[in-house]
Symmetry: C2
């Protein structure tokens, strides 16, 4: 399979494939001469994965590269798989963030504080600060309901990790974490629309998507 066929098979322009090769997101083909290389099914699969990461999941090319690097070279059997996935989607926190608000919540929810990564805690703190700096104060009970729901999600996540092979687990965790996020957000919005429709009826909060 030559590069133009790879392009045809995936819908990705040749120039873009070359770009991904340069950026080390896609492994090189086997050179058969100075100006010819052969690509195979692994390139097709990888290309689709890349497009899912940078397209659907909205990762930057740099983040996708880091994440793929981890998928390619599993650190050791199961060592910090989650950390790898989370690092690709969580920006590093500055040294001086105050994690106290997050830690209090973790205690309240019984989520092992020592299990939870600094940067992820900082992300929660920042997100909550965004809410409150927008003048949006969330009552604790409501926040707790959200936490319970996300705990359910996480239990589903962790519960369905394949435990047979470390590579499979790796793949599942890394990709499941980032590729599931847009799915969850879309589901939330649909559920909101449905709940709003049931509660308020058309034309109240949900609007009138199908008037007449």
């Amino acid at each position: 399979m030559r590069i133009s066929q790879l392009a045809a098979a995936t819908g990705v322009p040749v120039a873009t494939i070359k770009y991904y090769l340069r950026e080390k997101l896609l492994h090189e083909g086997v050179l058969t001469s100075a100006t010819q290389a052969r690509y195979d099914d692994s390139h097709v699969r990888r290309l689709k994965l890349i497009r899912a990461l940078v397209g659907t999941a909205g990762l930057s090319v740099a983040a996708a590269r880091e994440l793929l690097l981890g998928v390619d070279n599993p650190p050791e059997a199961g060592h910090d798989l989650l950390g790898l996935a989370h690092r690709a989607v969580t920006r590093p926190a500055p040294d001086d963030v105050d994690l106290a608000p997050a830690q209090e919540l973790l205690r309240r929810w019984g989520w092992g504080e020592q299990a939870c990564d600094r940067n992820t805690q900082a992300a929660l703190v920042e997100a909550l600060a965004g809410l409150s700096s927008a003048g949006f104060e969330l009552p604790s009970p409501v926040l707790d309901r959200y936490a319970q729901a996300m705990r359910d999600v996480a239990d589903a996540d962790v519960g369905s990790v394949p435990t047979d092979s470390p590579e499979a687990a790796m793949r599942y965790v890394v990709l499941g974490t980032v590729l599931m996020e847009p799915v969850l957000l879309a589901m939330r919005r649909l559920a909101q629309q449905s709940a709003s429709f049931e509660r308020f009826g058309a034309g109240e909060l949900a609007g009138e998507p199908h008037p007449g």
Copy 2:
């Protein structure tokens, strides 16, 4: 309050404030002369809100403008509030997307199909396509668990909308939808870390954030 004081009060550079003024994200101050305008608390609040939207929530300036425009001019009492918020974070779907996969899921979950916006359904279809094109096949029962969790989230969302004033409802729905997303994602990651830690222990899936 002059522009430099507004900058000092919010931490936003003067040049950036001018940019937001040009882009109509921030309302103008009251001119007291040809080269002087007065700003007040409403500008401080608005600026914080803008930073939360484009910073924390990751909206583009254009999306933030559209959303703020809606918050400023509530259409009519409760008319399509959700639609407004969702439009700001959901890109328009092309005419030819096949919504069938989403509609089947909506039926299965009992979420009123007629309540659910085309673009949002398309977003779900695309997100699921991203998963599957990455070679990631999600068992239906697992997807159903996610759906249940997001339904819980949405019920909390809709249940805590203030029903007294349309303006308050507007604000709550629009901002709650977009500003809560980063909160939910951060909570999911923390819950994953905690669940993983409980299930596999340190050094297995969760990694060893605190070795020793």
